[in-house]
C-alpha cells in the first residue's frame, strides 16, 4: 500500500490533518483506532460552534468528511516505522506494510498507568512499563503482561524469549488476530481476567486477579494501548522530551524531514481547538512536502 501522507492517529488532530491533506490532492491514509481518542467518550462544551454533542459524533462526522475528500481510513495500530528511500515504511498490526512519503504523528496522549494497588509502590521493583527496556532483568523468571491491545501482544511475545513463564492478562482482546496468534504461538498463556492488586514484599511476588486468583510472578509489565508514539517517533529519529511530547515548529515540523506532528502529542493545553488547528497546519504542510518530492 502506498500513500503520499500517512497520519498516525484518528482523533481530531489526525482527521483534520487528513481533511487538509486530501483536499490538497495528496493520497492520504489515516491509521489508528477512533475510540482511543481522548474526546471519544466526552461531551463537547468549549469547542467553537458546539454547545453539546458528543466527541464520538464529532469524530464519526470528521471521518466521513475526510473520506469525502478522498482520504482512506484504516482502524489499525502501527507496530513499527522506519526511514526508507523516498519516505517511510510502516508495519501495521495485521502485518500489512505501508510506504509513505510523509508522516504526521497525531496519536494523542495515551493512558499508561493502570492505577491498581501496588502498581506505584512496586514501580522499579518488579512493575515495568517497558518490556523492551527491562526484559533482560527477568531471565528465567515468571512474568505477567497486562493489556488488551497490540502493545501487550507484542510485549508478551517478546517476553517468551526471556521469562520462564509468561501470563498475558487481558479481559478482552483488542489486538489484531495476527498479533494475538504471534504472542500465543510463542508460548504466552492468556488469562482472561482483570488485574486487581500487585502483591509483593520488597519486590513483586504476585499479581492478584479479580476472581482472587494470584499469579506467582516476579515481574508485572503494564502495556496498555498501542505502541507508544514516543517509540514510533524515535524509530524515525524524533526525540521526545521527558514528558513524551514532540516539539514542533510553526509549520508543525519535527525537525526530521517529512515528519510532522500535531495535537496533544505536541504539548499542552490538551484541547480540541488546539488539536484541530494544528491538524490543519500539519496536514497542509505534509501534503506540500509529499507532492513536492
Amino acid at each position: 500500500m502506498d500513500a503520499d501522507v500517512t497520519i498516525i492517529g484518528m482523533g481530531p488532530a489526525g482527521l483534520q490533518a487528513a481533511i487538509h491533506s486530501s483536499r490538497k490532492k495528496a493520497k492520504t491514509l489515516v491509521l489508528g483506532k477512533m475510540e482511543n481518542s481522548a474526546i471519544y467518550p466526552t461531551e463537547l462544551e468549549n469547542y467553537l460552534g458546539y454547545r453539546g454533542g458528543s466527541g464520538k459524533e464529532l469524530l464519526a462526522s470528521g471521518a466521513e468528511q475526510a473520506r469525502s475528500f478522498g482520504a482512506s481510513l484504516l482502524q489499525e495500530d502501527v507496530i513499527s516505522v522506519e526511514k526508507a528511500e523516498g519516505g517511510f515504511i510502516l508495519r501495521l498490526e495485521s502485518g500489512k506494510e505501508v510506504k509513505s512519503k510523509a508522516l504526521v504523528f497525531a496519536p494523542g496522549i495515551s493512558r499508561k498507568k493502570l492505577n491498581i494497588p501496588g502498581e506505584k509502590e512496586f514501580f522499579g521493583k518488579g512493575v515495568s512499563y517497558c518490556a523492551t527496556c527491562d526484559c533482560n532483568f527477568y531471565k528465567e523468571k515468571p512474568v505477567a503482561i497486562i493489556g488488551e491491545a497490540s502493545e501487550a501482544a507484542s510485549s508478551a511475545e517478546l517476553m517468551t524469549h526471556y521469562a520462564s513463564k509468561v501470563y498475558w492478562v487481558a479481559k478482552e482482546l483488542k489486538a489484531n488476530q495476527n498479533m494475538v496468534d504471534m504472542a500465543l504461538g510463542a508460548g504466552a498463556n492468556l488469562v482472561q481476567s482483570q488485574p486487581k492488586t500487585v502483591r509483593g514484599d520488597q519486590k513483586v511476588t504476585g499479581l492478584e486477579l479479580e476472581d482472587g486468583t494470584v499469579l506467582e510472578v516476579n515481574g508485572v509489565f503494564i502495556e496498555l494501548g498501542s505502541r507508544s508514539s514516543a517509540d514510533l517517533a524515535m524509530d524515525v529519529g524524533v526525540l521526545p522530551d521527558p514528558e513524551g511530547h514532540l516539539k514542533v515548529d510553526e509549520e508543525c515540523g519535527t525537525g526530521v524531514e517529512g515528519v510532522f506532528a500535531c495535537g496533544d502529542i505536541t504539548g499542552k493545553p490538551w484541547q480540541l481547538a488546539r488539536a484541530v488547528g494544528q491538524g490543519a497546519v500539519a496536514g497542509l504542510n505534509a501534503a506540500s512536502y509529499a507532492r513536492s518530492g
Binding site: G124, K125, C130, F137, P242
Partner: protein
C-alpha cells in the same frame, strides 16, 4: 570533568560515589528508548549542578555487577547517594525540574 556526565563501570563506581558529596548515576542501556529520552536531561543536569552533584551514567548491559548489587529491575533508574549512603532512587523518565529539586533537597 566538572559539568560533564562521567561514564562509570563496575570497577570505577565505588570510587566515584566516595569522592562526591551527592551523586546521581543514570543506569541505562542502548536498547532502552526511554533512557535515550532521559540522556539529554542528564547532560543538562551535569552542567547545571557542576560542583554540587556528581552526575554519572552506567551502562547496565556492560556492567551487570552494579545492577545486581542494587537490584535494578527497570531502566532508566537513577541511583542517588549522599555522603556515600544510598537514597531513594528515581525510576523512569522524569522531568528535569523534578530530578533537580530532589537532588537539591538532599
Amino acid at each position: 570533568m566538572a559539568g560533564k556526565v562521567v561514564e562509570l563501570s563496575d570497577s570505577t563506581f565505588d570510587k566515584f560515589v566516595e569522592s562526591n558529596k551527592v551523586v546521581m548515576v543514570d543506569c541505562w542501556a542502548a536498547w532502552c528508548r526511554p533512557c535515550l529520552m532521559l540522556a539529554p536531561v542528564v547532560e543538562e543536569l551535569a552542567e547545571e549542578l557542576a560542583g554540587k552533584v556528581g552526575v554519572a551514567k552506567l551502562n547496565v548491559d556492560e556492567n551487570p555487577g552494579i545492577s545486581m548489587r542494587f537490584g535494578i529491575s527497570a531502566i532508566p533508574t537513577m541511583l542517588v547517594f549522599k555522603d556515600g549512603v544510598m537514597k531513594e532512587p528515581l525510576v523512569g523518565v522524569r522531568p528535569k525540574a523534578e530530578i533537580k529539586n530532589y537532588l537539591m533537597s538532599l
